[in-house]
Symmetry: C2
Subunit: 369 residues, 2 copies
Amino acid sequence: MKIETKTAHFSSPLYLESGRILEPYEIAYETYGELNADHSNVVLVCHALSGSHHAAGVYEGERKAGWWDGLIGDGKGIDTRKYFVISTNVIGSCFGSTGPMSNNYSTQAPYRLKFPVVTIKDMIRAQMHLLSDLGIHHVRAIVGGSMGGMQALQFAVDYPNFADDIIALAATYATRPWTIAFNKVAVEAIRRDPRFKHGNYEKDDFKEEGLDGLAIGRIAGHISYLSPDSMDDKFGRNYVGTDGLFELFGRYEVERYMEYNTNNFSRIFDPLSYLYIVKAINTFNLSRGYDSLHDAISRIKANVHLISFSSDYLFFPSEMEHIAKMMARNGQAHSYLEVKSNYGHDAFLVEVEKFEAHIREVLELGIRN
Amino acid sequence: MKIETKTAHFSSPLYLESGRILEPYEIAYETYGELNADHSNVVLVCHALSGSHHAAGVYEGERKAGWWDGLIGDGKGIDTRKYFVISTNVIGSCFGSTGPMSNNYSTQAPYRLKFPVVTIKDMIRAQMHLLSDLGIHHVRAIVGGSMGGMQALQFAVDYPNFADDIIALAATYATRPWTIAFNKVAVEAIRRDPRFKHGNYEKDDFKEEGLDGLAIGRIAGHISYLSPDSMDDKFGRNYVGTDGLFELFGRYEVERYMEYNTNNFSRIFDPLSYLYIVKAINTFNLSRGYDSLHDAISRIKANVHLISFSSDYLFFPSEMEHIAKMMARNGQAHSYLEVKSNYGHDAFLVEVEKFEAHIREVLELGIRN
């Protein structure tokens, strides 16, 4: 697949849940496959905290594929021979959509900490504008995992007639303190890092090594994406080097993994964007704006497909099951699948083969419980 | 109880597992109750990562009791009218025993990063010297939770004839990568903190506010001491303040808890000590020095009592059960109790009423499976 990132510009204001306005704003996005004549084959894909609109394919001259390349493509679970897939970058991101390091139109300087807090509701409202701009007023399905699953569920509640099917993986109905606590490590580590300069760092300050605070916070993130068993399988008690057990900073394999991955991450991700997206995750609550969670869920008209992972230590299967049970009591069309996995939360990214067939079926047959 | 801390001085060398020597060294300790004539009523108590020898009672002029005051005292589970309780501070600590900020005798300056790595095996070897010094060559029981449980189990393996009963709570047979990963947050946050100065900070630099890196690392610690359900019960999704949901640094109740507790901790705990004690936890492995875990466990002659907590997310019940099963297959005297709890790992500190009767029975009757 030849992949190109597009950017849509909006000069009309985006009204945010906070009451503030974002104006103007941009949304980066990619598309895979072809839109059919009656616009009835659109699948919208939503990304997670560390993701971007680059969900599938490989950019010219690069080797690493998009984050869901195993699921999206010709003949794959989300078959680009049949579906026109749109993957958009969330508002607040550092990968092309308007975020805290974008220029504030009125001052011609980056927003930094003056960027408004954005929520999952705001993210999908922005996406609605993009789709409307593309002439798409209804989609076949909306699919996403983790924060992407939050967006998919929020679409189901806020825009009940917009999608036939909602497929949400490894998500929840409202972020629990457990997850907020994991995010708190990053918030404090970034905020207290002297090089963060209260948000006034220069854009290129960290190019080479990244911000320590972001790397440190990301270690907590990686813990929550794995599981005790997956770490046993992946690392065991292996020690890096042969005779360093009694060196204070000698490292176990799991420690090397954390260093390697988090340092790589902090080199490419913007610290302010991380704070804003984490805030959007922390404030996620399907019931906000409605009388109750039951009231919110009752609005849903789409067929909702919930996929959880047995070893997910970030968003536990019981959280997705809670939504399924509520929909069952309401007699609403839905399906619930708990995938047996050792991979923890990351399973939605790395064990695509375990739910690919299920997603294919949902898209082709619209299966339900 | 009137409590006084004593300090024992040793001028003979402590031979460490690393091959290095600590000489001279000191051990801070407290005792509760009276030693009987034939020295047969000694109970040794071992503390966890953040603990000290101050396990019970209240210091003159202070209000806060020792960390296991609910369990140790007159008429309590470990009844000080019957038992002579000795609680010692581990080597490496910052609360009175020789640690990285103690003066190196040969240079008359603090060891800092030149302090040798100490292990759980080293900690209990030091305690053996103390007890020997006090004329105690056999104890009724050794009790400890978390890192204290590791010490109790290590005593059982390394000194099979030393104790009648071993009571280990919320511990494991070898630290898994899951726990090492949680500790890694602290290691990196401390190590990368500019005020840590590669270990060359001045002792009083952080008196007022503590080292940020330690506070940040401690957030990860607190996550692992709680559980998703205990956080729901304790904090819910309550937000601090009434209209700050859309402020970037506005805080949920769980975030305030983390800030409050971790800032308090970083004010009193020494960062280098934290690194060294975390290293001792990471390297804990009952089988080290023996052919296998089975070989190590088979050496045990004491009656071993294992107590786990159903919601422990740091050392899972299955880890304690693993030891119980091995002892059962070997026909070794032991008991295993899984306490139903919502409190996570912290239950061994905060839900004493759930296992107090069990410990009382063990000490009085020596119950076994």
